[in-house]
Symmetry: C2
Subunit: 200 residues, 2 copies
């Protein structure tokens, strides 16, 4: 069996999975799920994803796995994208939990409303997410002033997790000019062999 990815082309969380599978040369089949019309979610994803969110993969043994960063971990384990050192592995998880708790809920959500749904959130909510997104970008900026990549000496799944929505943050109205260390890191990630942007 080929790996099956329940996917959406504009979702950064789905992009993470497409990217790691491509980098590792793992063949996969894509099945597109809408992020605008959610009416068929139970029918399509019930029994595969507890939250009915994409991405979900069905592994080559038929078992399902959800949550983008858990999927990254699963495929990257044993490869150059997830080092063996226990401390580096824990730090990779540290940054991936930061991404899902502090970065994605602000930066991905504003992009979703502005560029994908093309609707307005209530102003107070937009403002709160704008502030939270800037805080997340400053956290990244401070770290990247002193490090080329998030963990260790090279490109890992921590970088993939954070690259996904950062390289398209302007689509949610976030200017990246105030974060030169972040933009330098974005350029380094973009230059990694096999990395293509979400729109490619």
């Amino acid at each position: 069996m080929t790996v099956l990815l329940y996917d959406n082309p504009v979702s950064g969380n789905c992009y993470k999975v497409r990217l790691i599978l491509s980098l590792l040369g793992i063949e996969f089949e894509r099945r597109e799920v809408s992020v605008l019309d959610l009416s068929d979610r139970i029918e399509v994803l019930g029994g595969l994803s507890p939250t009915l969110n994409v991405p979900v993969v069905v592994l080559d043994d038929g078992r399902p796995l959800a949550e983008s960063n858990a999927i990254l971990w699963h495929f990257a384990d044993g490869t150059r994208y997830l080092p063996d050192d226990p401390y580096e592995r824990a730090r990779i998880l540290q940054w991936m939990f930061f991404e899902q708790h502090k970065h994605e809920p602000a930066i991905a959500v504003l992009r979703y409303w502005q560029s994908i749904r093309e609707e307005e959130l209530p102003a107070a909510e937009t403002e709160a997410k704008r502030d939270a997104g800037r805080v997340a970008l400053r956290v990244m900026e401070r770290h990247l002033r002193e490090h080329d990549y998030f963990v260790g000496a090279g490109f890992t799944i921590a970088d993939i997790a954070l690259y996904a929505y950062t390289h398209v943050a302007p689509e949610g109205g976030f200017a990246l000019d105030p974060y030169p260390a972040v933009t330098g890191w974005l350029a380094r990630v973009a230059a990694e062999p096999g990395v293509t942007p979400i729109s490619a």
Copy 2:
């Protein structure tokens, strides 16, 4: 060196770390950080936690680690609380990312405002978090109707991560009666050797 935990007694995220360290019999020193007065955060946690949040641990080799679920993973790896099977490990991460993305931002945050700060959030925000928390509880309920624990046959760090804020969810105004599979699981976790509630 002893493990040092920057801790707060009412924080569920800190409780996760205290619990795994106690279960594993690892000695640690606690240094209390306020969750109400944040004015000394940079002075105390700068250089240790990128987000200036607790918990943070300083390991016995002097290196820092932040994010509660990354800390759980680090200490549990190689123990009965984190099995070796690659698929089970990925599923544990799946549920821990669910916890930080969908559960904690709703259920922990309402508890923080209602029972710790004792202040009101704006009504629309409270309502949105109430709805999101109920969705998270329903996701847990559906899974626990068919499983005794979140992953595999026994108690793992996925259960610890989700137990932390679920067993005190009523402090945030969430009734647990509508979720009998969740309350059954809470009782199983509470009966695990060495598990004590946050208030103990």
